[in-house]
Every structure is written in C-alpha cells, then in structure tokens.
Amino acid sequence: MIEPKTSKKICGMGHRMKRKEDARFLHGQGTYVDDIKLPGMLFMDIVRSPYAYAKIKSINTEKALEIPGVLAVITGETLKEYNLHWMPTLMSDTQMVLPTDTVMYQAQEVAAVIATDRYAAADGIEAVEVEYEPMKAVVNPHKALDADAPVLRTDKEGKTDNHIWHWESGDREGTDKLFEEADIVVKENIYVPRIHVASIETCGCIADFRPATGKLTVHLTTQAPHAVRTVIALVAGHVGLSEEKVRVISPDIGGGFGGKVPVYPGYVIAIAASVVIGKPVKWIEDRSENLQADSFARDYHMVGEIAADKDGTMKALRIKTLADHGYTDAAANPSKYPAGMFSICTGSYQFENAFTEMDAVYTNKPPGGVAYRCSFRVTEAVHAIERMVDVLAQELGRDPAELRMQNFIQPDQFPYHSPTGWEYDSGNYPAALQKAMDMIGYDELRKEQAEKRARGELMGIGVCSFTEVVGAGPSKDFDILGIKMFDSAEIRIHPTGKAIARFGTKSQGQGHETTYAQIVAEELGIPALHIEVEEGDTDTAPYGLGTYASRSTPTAGAAAAKAARKIRDKARKIAAHLLEVSEEDLDWEPGKFFVKGAPDKSTTIQDIAFAAYTNHPQGMEAGLEAVHYYDPPNLTFPFGSYICVVDIDKQTGEPKIRRFVAIDDCGNIINPMIVEGQIHGGLTQGLAPAMFEELIYDEDGNILNGTFMDYLLPTAVETPHWETGHTITPCPHHPIGAKGVGESPTVGAPPAIANAIVDALSHLGVTNIDIPITPFKVWKILKEKGVTNA
C-alpha cells in the first residue's frame, strides 16, 4: 500500500475514509424517486403485451375509464397526435413509445392508465381490453436471418431482412493467413447469455409539468441526467419543451449498472401525460416489469478461434459473433462503436494479428444490450478470449497459467498497440498473475487436483487474466448521439474554506460523494469532510455524460483534479499577495503555501479562501472557483488476474467455489475501502451470470423466468469468500494516475469460474460449458460421461 500524502484530517487519496453518503442510507434517509411525493400527483400504470409478436386489432378503454379514479388511458394513437409514438434510441435506431398497430415483444408497453391513486391505476390496466392477433415470433437469432424468417421491422421502409448491422475490426486477410499457416487451431462456440442488471431499485420517474411556467421537471432514475435533458429537448422540442425549460433531477439511485442509461417508453409517456394534464405524474415499475421489459445485457453468440505454434505461442485470434438485440437496437454504446469495445478481445496477450466481426439481428425480444457493469461489451470479449486461452491450453496439454505467462504483453511493451487498434496505456500482467498464484498456492492446488483426480474426485482450478478498457472517452472517437464523452467538475470554495463540488456524472452507489471529495482534498488540502459533492440536477451541475462504463474517475475524477489545480493556481497568487512575496517564491504542501526556505512563513488554503472574498489583490476577480471539462487523451486499461477453485459433487452436479482470489490493478487508489467494496460487489455480479442468471424464452418468445422466484440472483449464502489483493500500475495519462475499477470484477469473474468448472471436467473431454453453469447442466455432462450413478 502506498502511504497517503495527506494527513488523516485532510483525508486525500489513499485514505480508507468511510463513505459520506452511508449515514443517510443507513438511517433510511436516502431519497429515491419513489420517495418523492408532490401535491396533486397522479399515478401511471402500464398495460403490457402478453404476446411476443402480435397485431393489435383494437384497444377498448371504456371499462377502464369507468373505474373511479381513472382519468385517462393513453394509447399509441393518443401519442401519434403529437408525433410522440416513436422515439430514437441511443444507437440511432427507433423504438415505439406506444404501439399503434403491432407489438414486438412480450411485456411491451401497450397503453398507459393515469389515475388519482396507484390502486385505481392498477385496476385500470386490468380493465383495458386489447384484442390481439398473435403472429409467429422470431426468437432464435440464428434463424432471424433465414430467408423465410418474417421481416420484423416493417416500419422501416425497404427493410427486407432482420439484419441490423455488420461490424468488423482488425485485419481479415492477415489473420486468415496466420490461421492457414498455424501448427494448431482451436475453435469453440461460446454463448454469453441474455441477463439483466436487476438493480434493487427499479426504474421510474415523476414528470412534473407546470403549465403556468412552461417548465418541466423530471425526477428520474437515470445515470446520465444531462444527456436525457438534451434528448427530451430534441425529441419533444416540437411540442414546446425547450432545453432551458427542462430540468432533470436524478436523486439517490438504487443501482444502475447500465440499466438506467436508456430512456424508456414509460418515462416518455409520463412526461406526455403530465404535459397534457398539467399535473405531476408518477410512474414506478414493479419488479417483473423491470425484469421483463427493461434493457437486458449481453446475448452474444460467439465463435472463437486461436491459431498457435506448437510451443504455445499464440499467433492470431478470430471471433465471429451474432448479437441478438431484440426488436430494436437500443444499446447504449458510443456512436462509432456499435459493438462497444468488443475489439479489446485480444485481451492481455500478444497476437501478431486478429480479426473480429459481428452481425446484429432483430428478434421478438425486449431491446437493450446495455453495458451491465462492463465498459461496453468488454465482458463478452473477455469471456471469449479467456475461455479460448484455456481451450488452447487443454489442446496443448499445457498449464493454463503458464500458457498465459508465455503469451502476455510484457511490462516493457507499453504503450502497446493492439492488432485491433487500441493503445494500451500501461500494465504489468505477469506480476498480477504471479501474485494471484502465490496467494492461492497454485502449485499445491495442482498437486491436490492430480491426487483427487486419481481418486475419481472432481476439482478444478480456473485462471483469468483480463484487460479492461474504460473511461470513455477521447472526444475524437467517443460520443453519444453526437455529444462528446468528456466529463466535468465545478468547484467553489466558500469564504470559510469549505467547498461544494458539482459533477456531470451521477453516483448510483459508487461512493462519488466520498471519492470526489478525496480527490479535491488531495489537490487542495481542504479536508474531504468539508467538501460537499453534488450530482444529478441539470439546473445546477455542469454538463456531463453521466456514470457508466467505469468512466467517472477517469473523466470526472480527472476533471476534479484539474479544476482543483486551477483553484490552486489562483490560490498561489492570493498567497503571494498575503505573504508579500512573488509566486515563484512559494512552495505547496497539502493545505498551505509557504515561503521557500522559510516554512513558518505560510498561509493556509482556508486563509486564502477567506482572502479571496475579503482581501483579494486589486485587479484580480474575487472568489475562488473553477470549472473543468476533461477530455481524456486515451482510455484507461485496468487489469487483473483471478483464480478460482471449485469442487464438484459427482452425484448432484453441484459446483462449489472453494476459493477465489482476485488481484486487481486499477492504477492509483483513491479510497482502498471503496475499491474493495466495488470489487466485492462486482465479483458477486460476476458469479451471478457464471452460475445463476439467464433470461430464458420459449419458442414463442414468452419469458419463462420473469420474477425473482426463477431469475436467480445469488445471495450472501451462495457467495464465496472473496480474497482480494492488488498491484498498482499508475495510469500514465490520468492526472492522478487512476484507472477506474467498478467493472473489472464483473468482467473477470465469469471466465475464472467457468474455466475452473471446465477444468474439473477437462479429463472427460469437456472443452466448454456455456454460462450459467448450473448443477443441472453439470449433471447432464456427468451422466453422459458415465461419471455419476445418480
């Protein structure tokens, strides 16, 4: 651990400061959207489609309108009058707000009931009579491109198939050539299934339009309030919602994980209803609606291939992917990256060449493809490469850790240019893996495994050495709907030396109120406890693109440091004035300027702040504040090595994680406790898809596990004890050398677990098991191989 530079009182970087936000959460005094109650507020509930694909023949609202308390039923036809029945997605596709003629997935919004209370609204939706004519749904993405597959997006003129886009990265010919010449080629189908972020707080909003002022305030569960404000102004400008009249407030958020980036139809309907009725309208999804209709994540069908020399040198990588996007492309990727950062798929290894291509298709499933705690499709990429390295190791009869060591990009090769065009900023992969191996006692475990195998017992060890790519991103490449992906900080120092700092990001549990305060404390020497951090209100916060993709520290965190440094520059001038010396004669230590060679001649940042309002130099502007919009020069590349040990019950197929060691490198650490918390949470969210979670559909497109009874989220009981550790390789281009950490564990854990379970069965000829790896799946293999007598 690196010694903090600041005192405990200042609590800058490196201090295990308790989270400032926790007191209010632990006292039950957080304010989430559903906690907000406005006078005269109405309630909305949504009628949803029981079919995955159907024509709407009629919607009869008469009986619903007879229910006491029901005020209005909104349908696609109602919205069509205002041209609000369709909206753009973040990927420049289009999505229905409410349908006028066809529903495209089960649980799609069909109509909305507005009522004076929540109960009447619920009765109202039961009473809306919708007549459907079901059609044969396209559910299997592999069949979506068949010639006889029905064309789903008939709303798009001239569309003759279900293909959305083709994307590729790398050098096709060069890669193919290496494959033709290779000693060894391994190939595997790998599916990363459709899952859901399932945050504890579902989505919802209160749309509050005041006819007298023409101002719309939306209290919204969003990770990106500013972007939403702009989208509202662009989409609804024609009905009078001009951007200065729109205020988006994102209050406390109970988990986002990417699921609160998109704009959902429910938000738009509530806004339309409030504008038309002139009263606040609250809409809060219930759990099943959230699970069944909101943005899914993953759902990539991949075919991975590695070409290698006999000695294990990896030469080339090829991955071909089919991406199931549901009925519209409503993913949340930067504009130029329809497949997100998937091309990071060469991972931590040196390949001479690589090529990856992807086709995205429409199916009758909910739209989405959000980055669930992963920076834009990195989870899928890491799963592919980390599984494939193990497949190669198995083919070669090599130890998977040793094969990784042989092929790692070496520490002296950074900055490293990957064959798919990334410039990795920094890394030390062998050190992280070695540390993990030492911590878990790798060699001993391999011995134990050999002994157990001889006795017929099933034990496996799985390794994963991932490379992440986060912190989107440099404005030359990264934008969402044209808005560049910078982020911002605005810091104001009050006369008594306390501060308020506002950001364009939005915490959903990451602890920004603490980490940002620590960054400012580090730079200015003002105690972190004296720095109030505010986010989420577009009327007060500087413009920013929000929090997702582990981007807050790389962008807004950098902006905080930069803005603080601007303040320090001005503070230096004031200090020179106060101490009656020239600026060059001053040195800084956290919290004060002192005269070089005369440390007792000093002035504190608090004195300087007071002077900025009471005694500032003539000709200088009063006040002490700064804004910074940070445009990162590159992305950041956190990495880590995880090792998992599993034991499998031969009779029931239950895999049990015995140990799990996670070594992470996220560059310089701001608050070790928050980093550990992020890693524990992320590992658990990596365990979940590895062993439990998957959204399952039948052949008619009906969701089979649309509640938490069957959509399995692990609890503390299923979660193993996580053993964590770190290495520190500072980011060379970030002002404080930090890289971002929230997503690494979610990205790295699934392949470590899958590799361990496959490893336990590898002697039976098993090379891959698609996640989630359930006891049932394992038992089927054991049965087939004649291992179990149950």
């Binding site: 099943s288 029931t652 439990f692 399952i696 596990n705 399995l712 692990p714 009981v717 006891p775």
Partner: protein, 289 residues
C-alpha cells in the same frame, strides 16, 4: 403487483374467525404469515373478496410435549420452531428442514399451519409431516376434527380442509428410542423451492432391524408424495446399502416430476435417488446411535 380491492377482517377470537369464515365461505381466505397468499394476490392469481387475518389468535402459537406427542399450534411461526428446544431434542427431522425453508425474513412470519394448508407440493413441511405420521386438527363451525396427514393432501393445491375450517393444531408422535430422521433438499439458491426434497424417518430395534419407516418427497409429484412401497422395503431390513438402494430406486421411479426450469424429469428422478440415499443413510446412522 397490486391486488384488487378486498374486505379485511381481523377477528380477535377463534369463534369470531370461525363465524366470519362461515359467513363468507368460498369468498374468504385465511391470512396467517401471508408469504404464500399475498404474492398470489399481488399477481392477481388469487382474488379473495374477504381476508380473515388470524394473526391476533396468539392462542394458536405454541409448541408443547404431552404424553409422547408434540402439539404445535397452527399459527406457530417457523422461527419459533427453529428456536424450540423441544423440536431440536425430539424431532431432528423437523429441525433439519427448518433452515432450508425459504429465508430468515420469510421464516419470521410464515406459519407451519399456512405451509401445510397451502397444499403446495413445493413446500417442505408436507413431506416431513408425512414421514413423521402427523395428525392435523381442523376446527370448523361444527367443531374440531382430526385428519391423518396421509389423507390431508388431496390434489394440486387442494387439502382436506373445508373453506370454513382453520388448521389449529399439528400433532406429531414423539419417535421412540432408536429413531433417526433427516431431510435433504437440493435447491438452486437459498429461498428457492426444492428441485427435489426427501424426508426420511426410521426406527430400529436392538438388533438393528428397522421397525418403522417414513419416506416422503417434496416437489416431484403433483402432491407431497409418500413413498409407501419404499417404506415397506425398509421395514424389516437392516437399513443396509441394499435396502436403501432399493427404497431410493422406488422413490425415484414412483414419483412423477415435471420438466421445468429446475431441471428435466430424468434429472429430478436422479436427484430423488441420490437424496433418498443420503437421507436414509443419515437417518439410519442416527437411529443406530
């Protein structure tokens, strides 16, 4: 997730509760822990017009031992059973099932009476009560009657209780010296209903021969399933490997599980086979002392 309107009644005495049930009959539902009923109401799968909340009838919350019988009040919470010395000392089988039912939050409120009255083949108590040969006491407008557990589960979510009856008591004969019991449950995660569950209760005599056996299954049949043929194989045997294997085979063959997200029919039969082996082995070891 919001139920339609209903009338709510909170009787303070058993007579009052019974008269409300008598008045509303089929239109009423008894509410005890609410952990099965309320989810069904929220999903609008159950739409009772009247709720008769019997939670004030604390006289139905007790655990007593008298003359070789354990008496458990119908409204006794799972958590009270978990904390009961009588249960741990006398009924190891029940003691083993308790932590496997749902999760602590659910067990704080859920009742053993509700668990049995719900008639859900996925609930865990029914198999346990079948293995222990319990008796259910029901009280209706015409008074009390006793129903042997073997006659209690009639159909899918259907029990021998009439809509006007309250399950007031469960009576379990204390197993004699030389007994042992075990419950094995395979679940996908904590709080899940069983992929398969097996309750086994056996008694052996001085020579190690089995004098009585109870064997019943959870969630692999349209009702909680008592494996009578398996029990017959065990009685008279030495509970050796061969007898256990045979009984487990019978359990696995005779149950009738369905294909669902918890697994295929074949898998569930295999799990019944393995869990029955494990439950019987543990029960037999306990019985032998």
């Amino acid at each position: 997730m919001i139920p339609p309107a209903f009338d709510y009644h909170a009787p303070q005495t058993l007579e009052e509760a019974l008269s409300l049930l008598d008045e509303y009959g089929d239109d009423a539902k008894i509410l005890s822990g609410g952990h099965s009923l309320i989810p069904m109401m929220k999903l609008r799968l159950a739409q009772p017009e009247h709720i008769v909340d019997i939670n004030a009838l604390t006289e139905l919350e007790y655990i007593r031992e008298e003359n070789g019988v354990i008496y458990i009040g119908g409204l006794t919470r799972e958590v009270a059973l978990e904390e009961s010395d009588i249960i741990h000392a006398r009924l190891p089988l029940v003691s083993e099932v308790l932590p496997l039912i749902a999760d602590p939050q659910v067990r704080n409120l859920a009742t053993i009476g509700g668990n049995l009255a719900h008639g859900d083949p996925g609930n865990d108590h029914p198999a346990v009560m079948l293995a222990l040969g319990a008796t259910i006491v029901a009280q209706g407008p015409e008074g009390k009657r006793s129903i042997h557990i073997n006659d209690f589960f009639e159909d899918f979510y259907m029990t021998a209780l009439e809509p006007e009856e309250i399950l007031t008591e469960i009576q379990i004969p204390v197993p004699p010296q030389g007994s042992g019991g075990s419950y094995k449950k395979l679940e996908r995660k904590v709080g899940d209903y069983a992929v398969a569950g097996v309750a086994a209760q056996v008694t052996v005599d001085g020579s190690g021969a089995c004098t009585s056996a109870g064997l019943a299954l959870t969630n692999v049949h349209y009702i909680p399933f008592k494996v009578t043929d398996g029990e017959d194989v065990l009685v008279g045997s030495k509970l050796d490997k061969e007898a256990i294997e045979k009984a487990a085979g019978i359990a696995s063959e005779q149950c009738d599980p369905s294909n669902d997200l918890r697994g295929s029919v074949e898998y569930k039969r295999a799990m019944v086979l393995e869990l029955t082996r494990r439950a019987l082995r543990d029960a037999a070891n306990q019985a032998r002392g």
